[in-house]
């Protein structure tokens, strides 16, 4: 069987970093997610694909949004779901990641969806032999958040190319601008990796204090001037900027930040007509984005939330070999998509 994802043999069978996805892996995930999204329009939204499989959502950091999104995806695939909020549990009393992993292993879980404050924790979990389950990174420190990047790419493909026209295609030639706190952002890192793999041209815009030393080596452009970049953007992704950064002298005041790097309606009008505004949430209205922009038809925030469920379904489906359960059809994107659609019908019959 070919490796999946195929970009890094060390982490094959897991989803740790967007950088581990080849172009074909990524397109396959997006195409599978498209099939999953179609399922969401049906009266019965469930697939039996992961029936009898157990998935743990292991969250060392609070993130209700991401946890709920994974949980919805898991339930739509009929998996048994265990939510393990490590905050406030034995873990915060000094039990190590290793001990927790071994407990889960003993319970016989098939996949662990992990959110952790320490960069590299999911990589450690996947590669140190503590556990056999598939590991899905739901955000680690300031490192990676690959399913976020996938759902962002999915949203862009749907908006800029179209749900049907986009099938089988990447984002070649699209110009994507990411604005805000790049330094502390796992979303930015994941997006740069994935968008580059998909052929898009990425420009990062931030005050120099919020760009990491070493960004020169990333496959993207860097600019300090938002107004200059906006007219050349097909999608503009605004990242959350926490007010506390001000206290560590990353920028002088909230006012100055939003004046120089925030997106308001005047700025939005500099963008090409077809261009969209994206935000991974949660938004800080009045800081990086005005309420008017956030609520405008060009802003994809709520679509991104819906697309997140489809993407996470696709990732879990592909990693856990959902196709075996759904009729054993092949590993190609179309094969998977077809089986997903077929089993959708089966599920409906069954649950009546």
């Amino acid at each position: 069987m070919p490796l999946f994802p195929g970009g890094n043999p060390r982490t094959s069978g897991h989803l740790i970093s967007a950088a581990d996805l080849t172009r074909d892996d990524a397109v396959r995930i997006l195409d599978t997610a498209e099939e999953m999204a179609r399922l969401a329009d049906r009266p019965i939204k469930k697939l039996p694909a992961l029936r009898g499989r157990t998935i743990v959502n292991l969250f060392f950091e609070d993130s209700t949004r991401t946890r709920i999104s994974f949980e919805a995806a898991e339930k739509r695939l009929s998996a048994d779901v265990i939510n393990f909020a490590a905050k406030g549990s034995s873990v915060s009393k000094g039990e190590s990641l290793k001990d927790t992993a071994q407990t889960l292993e003993a319970m016989g879980v098939d996949a662990v969806v992990i959110r952790h404050g320490a960069s590299g924790a999911p990589y450690r979990l996947a590669t140190s032999g503590w556990i056999d389950a598939a590991v899905v990174n739901a955000g680690d420190g300031t490192h990676q958040h690959p399913t976020q990047a996938l759902l962002d790419a999915f949203t862009m493909r749907r908006r800029l190319i179209g749900p049907d026209a986009g099938l089988g295609r990447d984002l070649a030639g699209r110009r994507i601008t990411i604005v805000g706190d790049i330094l502390h952002s796992r979303v930015a890192r994941s997006n740069v990796d994935l968008l580059n793999t998909l052929g898009a041209q990425v420009t990062l815009v931030a005050p120099p204090t919020l760009l990491p030393v070493g960004v020169e080596g990333w496959p993207c452009e860097v600019s300090y001037d938002l107004d200059a970049v906006l007219p050349k953007s097909d999608a503009v992704m605004m990242l959350r900027v926490q007010r506390e950064r001000m206290n560590a002298a990353f920028f002088p005041t909230e006012r100055e930040y939003s004046r120089r790097y925030g997106l308001d309606v005047q700025r939005m009008e500099r963008m090409p007509e077809h261009a969209v505004v994206m935000h991974p949430g949660p938004m800080v209205r009045g800081m990086e984005i005005t309420a008017e922009v956030a609520d405008s038809g060009r802003c994809t925030v709520t679509e991104q939330v819906a697309n997140g469920v489809s993407i996470r379904m696709a990732v879990l489906y592909l990693l856990l070999g959902g196709s075996e359960h759904a009729g054993g059809s092949g590993n190609t994107a179309t094969g998977t998509a077809e089986t997903a659609a077929t089993t959708g019908t089966a599920a409906r019959t069954e649950e009546k």
């Binding site: 952790h116 590299g120 420190g141 300031t142 030393v213 960004v215």
Partner: protein, 428 residues
């Protein structure tokens, strides 16, 4: 008194000679020496060095005996060819009083595997606020001359100035762990392309270099002796080189791991590579090797930092910083300096014995291999090739970054004042 004849060893890598040890001293060095009832060590092809001296060892006792004790740490030292180590002050309690340094000194005497010279803390509790009783530690049985808050930086410029001035009264030296604390808040690894990618907090080179620059100026201003611990960047080398060119009394050390390993290894997120100062880049490694070769860096110091397994068997962010090093130091130096042609064995003797002993003002250590000198000697088989296996370590801890790596050379014998602490590669 017992006699040992080391036959045919290349003394400091030079001519093959016989060396006769009688009691605690070297009785004769020459050719065709008569065994005359002495135990004979055949040392054909081996290198005879003065016993190695480490300026920077964490023995962890008192307080963290789960990771190392004076006994296990000195056994590890002897295995690695050391006859003296400086025990760092960051124990629990901190070695900031005459009582604690005397305790460590006494434990060293009892262990008998190598000399233990305690280092005293510069400030009370390593907190950088108030000078510890430096004079009392010097006057104690431990005769402390090297003072360091290692693990923490004496970052307050006034405290650093006063410490440098104060120890002049008894020929002391301040060994600085150069790390500007504000620039390294939340720092996890070298700041650069790898940290940017891995999303780990960056530890900029300038956080080390800015403190060294300030300290050499302070040392020059008050005419004191400064020693810079574990130099890790090319920029630090430039500053020390400049200070030495001015004739200022500045010395510096480099660790074996900074001579070999780079931050690329952190991509594994394996905390065995987590260390303070962090592993840097290939360019830094090159600059450090050249500086050790040309003498800008005076010596190799291990920064042997044992940690229990659980402190490394976790995610990167939660892991402790440090690596064990006593038992692999000489092999790493052979690999990085001798086999690259940067240093000959006489140079190794200088950087790993003569100079560190001189900086620490250790009597009877780091002496030439000649008649009448104390018989502190290390015999190395440079042709040996082996794979590092921490299971065989004498240290209580296993946190080596070289596990499974092939490194050259092996210490076959170590003599502490004439008595073998290592014989045929085994601890006595």
């Amino acid at each position: 008194m017992s006699k040992t004849l080391i036959r045919g060893a290349k003394v400091l890598g030079d001519r093959a000679l016989d060396v006769l040890i009688d009691g605690e001293t070297v009785a004769a060095v020459g050719t065709g020496l008569d065994a005359d009832g002495a135990r004979v060590v055949e040392a054909d092809g081996q290198i005879l060095l003065p016993g190695l001296v480490d300026l920077h060892t964490h023995l962890r006792e008192p307080g963290r005996e789960d990771s190392e004790t004076v006994l296990t740490g000195t056994r590890a030292a002897a295995s690695g060819g050391y006859t003296a180590v400086h025990a760092m002050a960051n124990t629990f309690p901190v070695a900031d009083t005459a009582g604690v340094v005397e305790q460590v000194w006494r434990l060293g005497r009892e262990s008998g595997h190598c000399d233990v010279q305690p280092v005293g803390a510069v400030t009370v509790g390593l907190e950088g606020k108030q000078l510890a009783e430096l004079g009392a530690m010097h006057e104690s049985a431990a005769s402390v001359r090297v003072f360091s808050d290692d693990g923490k930086c004496v970052d307050d410029a006034v405290i650093m100035r006063r410490a440098l001035e104060y120890v002049k009264a008894f020929d002391g030296v301040i060994a600085q762990h150069a790390q500007e604390p504000r620039l390294t808040e939340g720092a996890q690894m070298n700041e650069g392309t790898v940290s940017a990618e891995l999303g780990l907090g960056g530890w900029p080179a300038v956080a080390e270099e800015s403190i060294i620059a300030r300290d050499v100026l302070l040392a020059a201003h008050v005419g004191s002796r400064l020693h810079v611990c574990h130099l890790s960047t090319a920029g630090s080398v430039e500053i020390v080189r400049w200070a030495k060119s001015k004739g200022w009394n500045v010395t510096a050390e480099v660790t074996p791991h900074h001579l070999l390993l780079t931050d690329e290894l952190v991509r594994s997120y394996d905390p065995v590579y987590k260390v303070n100062p962090p592993l840097r880049t290939e360019a830094d490694v090159r600059a450090l090797r050249e500086a050790l070769a040309d003498g800008t860096i005076d010596c190799v110091a291990t920064d042997h930092a044992p940690h229990p397994h659980e402190d490394k068997d976790c995610e990167w962010g939660a892991a402790a910083m440090g690596m064990v090093g006593l038992e692999t130091a000489l092999s790493v130096v052979q690999h990085t300096m001798v086999e690259t042609g940067l240093l000959d064995w006489a140079g190794v003797a200088d950087r790993m014995s003569f100079r560190p002993a001189a900086i620490g003002r250790l009597a009877g250590q780091g002496r030439p291999v000649s008649a009448g000198e104390p018989a502190n000697l290390t015999l190395v088989d440079p042709a040996y090739r082996g794979t590092v296996d921490s299971a065989g370590f004498a240290s209580r801890s296993r946190n080596t970054p070289y596990q499974g790596r092939e490194l050259p050379g092996r210490v076959t014998h170590t003599f502490l004042r004439g008595r073998a602490t290592v014989m045929d590669g085994k601890l006595v």
